[in-house]
Amino acid sequence: MYFPALLYPCILGMLGLVHAIPVHQDSLKNLVKPQAETIILRIKDHNKLKLSPKIFIDPELYPEVPADKPIQGLGSIVDTLTTFQKILQKLPNGNVSQISTDLFTLLGNLKDRMKSLRCTLKEPANDRSLDAFLENNATHPITLGFLALDRLKQFMQKLIINLDHLKSC
């Protein structure tokens, strides 16, 4: 007669356990890593002949383009990638379009994972300084694209090293 009484909490416990099982992160790692590597390779091909290797553009002069942003979880990754996506969308059509598409897909995957983890998705910030920066430099798309892609490549390399941060919001 005690069996149904024991069974009920047992079933509830099982359900709670199932609910508490975290989403397996390896699948996301396996998804994100090849995407990041693909973007890196595309950027290398794109930036190969644009500028002489002797030329470098000081990153401190352009704080609007993310540089060396810390990776502290999915939220920070999505924020940074959103900024990059906004920059790439301002660049002329062409080879950058494919990189922009790749980045868009990667962002979508990360946002989906944030939803599954019930992370708080930030609304896109109305970054007027970024808009103004893009507007002021719209007449120099080649160097702007070179700078943005170079930093995006660095961020992708950093992301590959810090794939464990995909576990947290």
Binding site: L61, P92, G94, A132
Partner: protein, 1090 residues
């Protein structure tokens, strides 16, 4: 009453309508603008209307209205009627230029109102005038009321001028106001300035500029505020009057500034602050864009806003890749650098001014653009596709920095050649259709796909550089899509390998394009896929082909492609690969031959053994009209069912054997059936019968010969299998045992076999007798053959040893010569007379025979042949003196060895033989000596050395053997040669000749050391030398009998020179002599050749 009012309104409306058409907007301003409102005071004179008797009435009287100053109303005392009929008019904007609302309110005196008790009827008419509204029609509103009327008209968000008219009716008298005009622009705050930007002068001054929203702005004053603080807490304010620009000084570089501007209208209304403008000063180019012509000089200046950057360290880069030489630079001032370049070709280029930063250049995002007008070569190539949707894909080259757009236009029914010849003419331009653009738009593209094309039109295609105002463009290309078609691949490919060694192929051409096609076919045999070398055949004009093959029954992969037969076009892609079908008339007759490898894994289950069948290649069907397409392996284990595996043409087939009787039959198959004559193999685990008696393998340089014999009275096997491992294949390179194992089947009647191929000579061959019911006991034999390399190595070592030995001989001889040259001949010494030097401890035995030996050297006739007869006897040495000759006989034991035997032995590996040098003219008169010395030892082998010396010095060398016994005896001989010249009157040139044979024991070196150190005597034996003359054989023949009679024999005393007491004995037939120690060991008589 009502009818009267209606009539009045009607009249009023007609009047206003007529009046509007006649009025201009500037007429009748009326009111004042104050506090974002428009105000007016309207006063009207309204006389009373007179009503006649009899119902007749006069026309209604018309009043008059006058606008007074609304801010300071001056009511005229002279016109009491006006004072009593005034209206306050107030207009304002509702919302953001949504509606204009006007309110008219009667201003009559209370007394008048009470007396007459009549209220004035008001009608307000509003008409909007603006360019936009006028274009779409008049926009108006009319409102009526008593004493107060509020009327609204929609502005649709635009500024407009509204005409306002009010009619007032009182006591049947109507008065119409003058036309009033309200400008909505003055009823609101001015818009904030827009288009904020800045310029930089060549002096480095930053000029900040903006624009008003409307050209006819009433703004008169501006305020600019800017901040470098991101929190925008601190602003710098600048006031500007009457102009829309201001220089901003004291700005720093690398700081993000936020700037805002607002303006003030005539009515002192301030606008809101403009949208913030952000900028960071780094480098500015003057001009930022240059339009030039090819060959013209272009000068561009760059301003460094960073004060720490000096223009003297500026580095100019052309297109971000090429550093412009410094000779083209010019320093304007500390912060401004200029460069002058000449661009020869039309196109787009960029200039970047960077700052030297160590080995690198620190640059900014900004760059200057140079547009060189003209046409550049873009190498535009197109390739069209004629299918359900005709498309054309074009590719081009361009500058890395240029943003381009692809433009095209078409002309139907005209050949491209005709249009290109008309290039530049108006007719050609007119004949082209409207210009269209690539759907991708401008950008960094290098290709574009055009759709919805007409294959038979001519298209003009070119590039334009974005921003080049249409003057920087590429040379156009004229393309007819039908001429650049890349067709679809042929389809429905079929191929058959026929028995007559023919590969028959057919296919179907694509439907479009409709012109004639040519084809190319390529094929590769499936056998040996590692070497996939396609063979190409073509061009073919028909959609089929037959290819003669070297062998039948081979499957091929076949692919086909096509292109236009006559005219331009591209090859299609290769079609899908098709594997040919092998045509057969019947099933294979016989199965393949095969053998097995049994591999037992000791670590795994011992009951299961892995068996691999090796199929003999190639697999023949046994009939030319049937081919083998696959194999069938049929298994039958004891007590179990029969099962089979069907495979392709494999080389190996593995299965698990459970150590029970297991029979495997391998059959060939094709589509028509399986073979009937098949070979099988039966595996048994029981002990096997032994039938082979012997098995041997002999290898030579290139072949291995195997032979075997069977035991009698045993059943004859069905066949033999010989297997071995191919040592040529490296087992470390993933060569499994299965792949390395070689085997051959031999008929049962054969008893030997020759395998000629590359063998290492160390292979292990295994002979398996194969019976119908299983295998017999195998026999193994390892072929042994010296490695040729080892032989060569051995020969080299032997040669080097010989060279070393000769070198040692020569060097030792030289040393000995130096040492012994000045030693006097003891025979000449008085004290040595009669002394026996051979034995130090038996000196008394030496001296008695001193007279027997003369100092006469062993003079022999040169070029004479000396026979050496070695007689080994146990008797003591005897010296026999004869009258005419001297015979030295050596008897040592019972053995008698002739020189011929010695010569035969000279071929022994350890024998040393010094060949006699032929006399040269210079040395022909010298002596030629051959020494023969025999050392008895326990070793059976003898060392023979024959030397012929051509001079006395060389004699010394030849004598200097590394044996103390010999070397100790030679000096005496030398002295003999020096002191005793055996003159030959007949042939004076031939002084003497010695033949010497030295025989060394293997331990001669040790003996040498022992004798040197301890002085222990060793046996030195003399050879018996038969000297013959060989100068003239005829003479020899003539004197043969005489020679026999007077045989010149040098008998060697077999007694050791340093003879021990025991060995000293004298032959009774010979006269025994004791040889002095330093006397020559060989004594000869001077012989005169007959």
């Amino acid at each position: 009453m009502t009818r009267f009012i209606m009539l009045a309104l009607l009249v009023n409306f007609i009047t206003i309508s007529q009046g509007l058409s006649a009025l201009s907007p500037s007429d009748g301003q009326g009111g004042v603008y104050e506090d974002l409102k428009w105000k007016a005071l309207l006063c009207c004179e309204l006389p009373f209307a007179q009503t006649l008797d009899g119902g007749l009435s006069e026309p209604p009287p018309v009043g008059q209205c006058q606008l007074l100053n609304a801010t300071k109303p001056e009511f005229s005392n002279t016109s009491p009627t006006l004072f009593g009929n005034c209206l306050d008019i107030l207009c304002w904007l509702e919302g953001e230029r949504t509606n204009l609302i006007c309110n008219a309110k009667s201003h009559r005196a209370a007394a008048a109102t009470s007396l007459l008790n009549i209220r004035p009827q008001l009608v307000v008419q509003m008409n909007v005038r603006s360019d936009e509204i006028m274009s779409t029609g008049s926009h108006a509103a009319q409102c009526a009321g008593e004493e107060t009327v509020m009327c609204s008209v929609s502005l649709h968000g635009n500024d407009a001028t509204v005409l306002l008219t009010i009619s007032i009716t009182l006591n049947e008298t109507t008065a119409l106001s003058p036309k009033m005009q309200v400008s909505t622009h003055h009823l609101r705050r001015p818009d904030a300035p827009v288009n904020l930007h800045y310029n930089v002068t060549t002096e480095g001054e930053v000029i900040f500029r903006w624009s008003d929203t409307q050209p006819d702005s009433y703004a008169v004053n501006y305020e600019i505020r800017y901040s470098s603080n991101s929190s925008l807490q601190q602003w710098e304010m600048v006031k500007v009057k009457g102009r829309s620009w201001v220089p901003l000084n004291d700005l720093s570089s690398a700081i993000r500034y936020t700037v805002q501007v607002r303006c003030q209208s005539h009515f002192s209304y301030w606008s809101e602050w403009s949208q913030p403008f952000y900028f960071t000063l780094d480098v500015s180019y003057i001009p930022a864009e240059v339009f030039t012509a090819p060959g013209s000089e272009v000068t561009v200046s760059a301003v460094f806003h960073n004060r720490s950057w000096s223009a003297s360290k500026a580095v100019w880069m052309l297109n971000g890749q090429v550093k412009i030489p410094e000779s083209h630079y010019r320093v304007i001032n500390e912060q401004v650098s200029a460069v002058t370049v000449t661009v020869d070709e039309p196109g787009f280029d960029t200039l970047m001014c960077c700052h030297q930063w160590g080995e690198r250049f620190k640059c900014f995002i900004a760059y200057a653009k140079i547009y060189t007008q003209g046409m550049f070569n873009a190498d535009i190539t197109c390739q069209s596709k004629n299918s359900e949707e005709d498309t054309m894909r074009c590719e081009w080259n361009k500058s890395t920095w240029a943003q381009v757009r692809l433009l095209y236009s078409s002309r139907r029914y005209t050949m491209c050649e005709t249009i290109s010849e008309m290039e530049g003419s108006e007719e050609a331009e007119e004949s082209m259709s409207l210009v269209k653009e690539c759907p991708s738009g401008p950008g960094d593209h290098r290709e574009c796909t055009l759709r919805n094309l007409s294959m038979f039109s001519c298209y003009k295609i070119w590039l334009e550089v974005e921003g080049g105002r249409g003057k920087v463009r590429s040379f156009p290309v004229y393309v007819a899509p039908i001429d650049v078609v890349k067709p679809s691949s042929p389809t429905d490919l079929e191929a058959t390998t026929l028995p007559n060694k023919t590969l028959s192929v057919s296919w179907k051409r694509p439907n479009l394009p409709v012109y004639d096609m040519q084809y190319e076919l390529r094929f590769v045999a499936l056998r040996g896929m590692a070497n996939t070398q396609w063979k190409v055949m073509g061009p073919l004009l028909e959609p089929n082909a037959e290819i003669l093959l070297e062998e039948s029954c081979v499957q091929f992969n076949v692919e086909v492609r096509c292109r236009r037969l006559n005219g331009s076009g591209y090859w299609s892609d290769w079609s899908m690969s098709y594997t040919s079908v092998v045509y057969n008339r019947k099933a294979p007759e016989m199965g393949p031959d095969f053998w097995r490898i049994i591999q037992e894994d000791p670590l795994r289950n011992v009951t299961n053994t892995n068996v691999t069948l090796i199929i003999k290649q190639p697999i023949l069907a046994g009939d030319p009209y049937s081919c083998v397409e696959g194999l069938v392996f049929e298994h039958q284990a004891s007590g179990r069912a029969v099962w089979s595996n069907e495979t392709t043409l494999v080389q190996f087939h593995s299965f698990q054997w459970r150590k029970e009787a297991h029979t495997v039959t391998v059959m060939s198959r094709n589509a028509l059936g399986i073979s009937t004559r098949n070979r099988n193999i039966t595996l048994f685990h029981q002990p096997k019968r032994r039938v082979v008696r012997s098995f041997s393998v002999v290898a030579n340089a290139s072949c291995v010969h195997l032979s075997w014999s069977l035991l009698p009275d045993h059943p004859v096997p069905q066949s033999f299998v010989i297997e071995w491992l191919d040592l040529n294949k490296d087992p470390e390179q993933d060569m499994s045992l299965i792949e390395r194992l070689q085997w051959v089947r031999v008929q049962s009647t054969a008893r030997d076999l020759s395998l000629c191929r590359r063998f290492y000579g160390s292979e292990e061959f295994t002979l398996y007798p194969v019976f119908v019911d299983g295998e017999g006991e195998p026999v193994r034999y390892t072929a042994t053959r010296g490695n040729p390399a080892a032989y060569i190595l051995l020969l080299i070592i032997a040669f080097l040893s010989m060279v070393l030995f000769v070198t040692l001989l020569i060097s030792q001889n030289q040393m000995r010569k130096l040492m012994w040259k000045d030693v006097p001949n003891p025979n000449n010494c008085s004290w040595a007379k009669g002394m026996d030097f051979r034995q130090i401890d038996t000196m008394e035995n030496l001296f008695p025979h001193s007279e027997g030996l003369t100092a006469c050297p062993l003079l022999l006739v040169s070029e004479s042949i000396c026979e050496v007869e070695i007689i080994e006897k146990p008797h003591p040495v005897t010296l026999e003196h004869e009258k005419d000759n001297v015979v030295l006989t050596y008897n040592s034991g019972d053995k008698t060895t002739t020189s011929s035997a010695l010569l035969a032995d000279s071929s022994e590996p350890l024998s040393l033989e010094a060949s006699t040098a032929a006399p040269t003219p210079e040395t022909s008169g010298q002596s030629s000596v051959t020494y023969s010395t025999i050392l008895l030892s326990d070793q059976p082998s003898l060392l023979r050395k024959q030397q012929e010396s051509l001079s006395s010095s060389s004699d010394e060398g030849n004598f200097s053997a590394n044996n103390s016994d010999i070397s100790g005896s030679f000096p005496g001989g030398l002295w003999d040669l020096e002191n005793h010249v055996c003159s030959d009157s007949a042939n004076p040139r031939h002084s003497s000749s010695y033949n010497s044979v030295e025989e060394f024991s293997d331990t001669s070196d040790q003996d040498y050391e022992a004798s040197e150190n301890t002085g222990v005597a060793k046996d030195l034996y003399y050879l018996e030398v038969n000297e013959e003359e060989d100068e003239d054989e005829e003479e020899i023949k003539e004197t043969q009998g005489e020679q026999e009679k007077n045989e010149i024999v040098v008998r060697v005393d077999a007694r050791p020179l340093l003879e021990s007491k025991d060995s000293t004995s004298v032959d009774s037939n010979n006269i025994s002599h004791s040889i002095p120690l330093y006397l020559p060991q060989f004594r000869t008589e001077c012989i005169n050749p007959p």
